[in-house]
């Protein structure tokens, strides 16, 4: 097991930068998820770690060693590919044993190790079959087993669950989490599915267009996104973004949005850049938009779409200035399309962003647990 470090890593294809100035430290035993949309550079970064691509600039370290010049076989990493990359002409046993055979491990030892891993992953019955005869989930487990047998310093997984159906995916997620805790391995995992990232990771590294946007624990990423991209990418349904203004009233900063005024915590507030002229973007998660009685502070809105999910209901409504808000209503809410409702906000969890730089205007607080405590003032 080992720690991994990216130091100012760039990967350029001609003029196009697939990865730009990536600096990331991964601790020993972490389950780090590289999360982002396609083209953000996450798979390229993983492949550079594996040795399948060479960084244009920068240093990559595994276990304290600089590995840039080392070929994959010398880095002691194991990789599970998106397509599983099983050897089609070998049996399951042959696939599992490949890495050991290549290292001239004595045959009885290979046999024993293969059977151990096979039983751990439930593959014992399938040892003599070929990949073509296996289901997707079985193939995935063989690929996983092949990696496990090597006992490498780092496990690399490239979207291993994306080819599985939903039910299997949930099951494999649980198995991977269980495996991580039992084997206590350093895992670098690439995915575009934010649900996978949130449930499995010890930390998530969100990437966008080759840059690292934010690295943090899942809850921190959810509660304190560092920019607009992270805020909108993590969390389903997407965070609501509305326009607002940041002004000074009696020497205290005040956020105006949707006809309401909120006082942010001045200790955490950054001033927006001069170009923005006090205009800001405010993010509100759907669960922080609530139905309120008519006399409470809030906005009037007309319901456009009602999506009952069973456990809750998603209500999309439009307010006077043409902004739409998505809200999480309790299950079995008697809301209908076209109805006029009144929506209030949980102002404890407002996210403020600079409209030009997209960066969050709220600094992270040094003590975890402290949140905004604004006052709402009715207009």
């Amino acid at each position: 097991m080992a720690e991994v470090r990216f130091e100012h890593v760039y990967k350029l294809f001609g003029a196009h930068a697939a990865v730009e100035d990536l600096s990331l430290d991964i601790a020993d035993g972490e389950f780090l998820v590289l999360l982002g949309p396609s083209g953000c550079g996450k798979t390229t970064s993983l492949r550079m770690l594996a040795g399948l691509e060479r960084p244009t600039y920068g240093r990559i370290e595994i276990g304290g060693r600089t590995v840039n010049a080392l070929p994959p076989k010398a880095r002691d990493v194991a990789m599970v590919f998106q397509s599983y990359a099983l050897f089609p002409h070998k049996t399951v046993r042959g696939n599992l044993a490949f890495g050991l055979k290549v290292r001239h491990t004595p045959r009885p030892q290979i046999r024993q190790l293969v059977e151990e891993v096979a039983s751990m992953l439930g593959l014992s019955r399938l040892l003599e079959k070929r990949p073509a005869q296996l289901s997707g989930g079985e193939r995935q487990r063989v690929a996983l087993g092949r990696a496990l047998l090597r006992r490498p310093q780092v496990f690399l997984l490239d979207e291993p669950l994306s080819n599985l159906d939903a039910a299997l995916r949930a099951q494999m997620r649980a198995e991977l989490i269980r495996l991580h805790s039992s084997v206590n391995a350093t895992i670098v995992y690439v995915t575009h599915d934010q649900a996978e990232a949130m449930t499995m990771a010890t930390r998530i590294a969100v990437m966008c267009k080759g840059h690292l946007s934010q690295v943090d624990t899942p809850q921190e990423i959810y509660d304190h996104p560092s920019d607009l991209f992270v805020a909108c990418f993590v969390g389903l349904p997407k965070m609501n973004i509305v326009r607002g203004r940041l002004t000074n009233a009696q020497d205290e900063p005040v956020v105006e949005l949707l006809g309401m005024r909120v006082k942010p915590d001045p200790h955490r507030l950054r001033t927006p850049g001069p170009e923005s002229r006090n205009e800001i973007l405010v993010g509100i998660r759907p669960e922080d938009v609530l139905p309120v009685p008519d006399n409470a502070p809030g906005v009037t809105a007309r319901v456009e779409l009602v999506e009952p999910l069973g456990s809750e209901t998603l209500v999309t409504s439009r307010i006077a200035d043409d902004t739409t808000l998505v809200a999480r209503f309790p299950a079995r809410s008697p809301v209908v399309r076209g109805e006029a409702i009144r929506l209030g906000l949980n102002t404890q969890h407002l996210h403020l962003f600079d409209p030009i730089t997209d960066k969050s205007l709220l600094r992270k607080v040094s003590q975890p647990g402290k949140t905004l405590r604004p006052e709402t003032v009715a207009v």
Partner: protein, 288 residues
Amino acid sequence: MDRTAPATSLQKIVIPYPRVSLADVLGNAVLALVGVAFALPLLWMIFASLDKNAGWRIRLPNLTLENFGSIVTAQGLQPFVNSFYLAAVTTVVATALALLAAYPLSRRYVPGKRSVTLLILFASGLPVTMMLVPIYQMYATLHWLDSRFTTSLFLAATALPFAIWLLMNYISAVPLELEEAAGIEGAGTLRTLFSVVMPLILPGLCVTAVYNFITAWGAFIVPLVLDSTPEDQPGTVAIYQFLGAHGMIQFGQLSAFSLLFSLPVVVLYLLIGRSFQGGFAFGGGVRG
């Protein structure tokens, strides 16, 4: 914790890689050696054609163009004309008939279609030149011997199976919906073939035609057997006759002749080479 580099200091760390390995160097060297070995015979021919006193050995030529000059006489050019005639007629007949056959076979319902298709592939693998005796006999009975035209017909017949196979593959790549649309508009089979399908497979058609041409251009034993009039000899037979001639073989002239004779085929291959290379991807079978 993560480390975010401050925007001002864009340090670009550069780590050198081992550039070449021994295996790479050896591999390239062996390949280059093979290339030289393969080029030697071709080089000889080129040098000899330019050489005043060409011999068997390869050497730098006493430059001259007389060898080429001696070809451009009436007798010198006749074999080229004959080869062109044979190849052209064969190509036209074979490609046209192949198109007519490939279309229904790959689209329409034909009883036993699958077996017929495999039969066609099977036929293209037969040692065709071994049908020469019966075809000679047939031609003799029909008084079809010693004619360039009838010789081309047989060449076309032997080229037909593989040409059908090639075109069938190209036709199956055309979406069926286009033909169905044409059918709804009232087009008959022939019209659909010529107005809809043919334009879309034009590249494939060209590849097939050029392949047929190249094959017919190199035909040797068929014209040798079926047409013995000296004026009808194609370039292949002419080269052979020169070699078998008693007395001094004019290597210079023969090289010049061979070079010129090879040129059309090489040029044609350069044109379609790229598309035909795709056809080499068997995936386990021929153009699967």
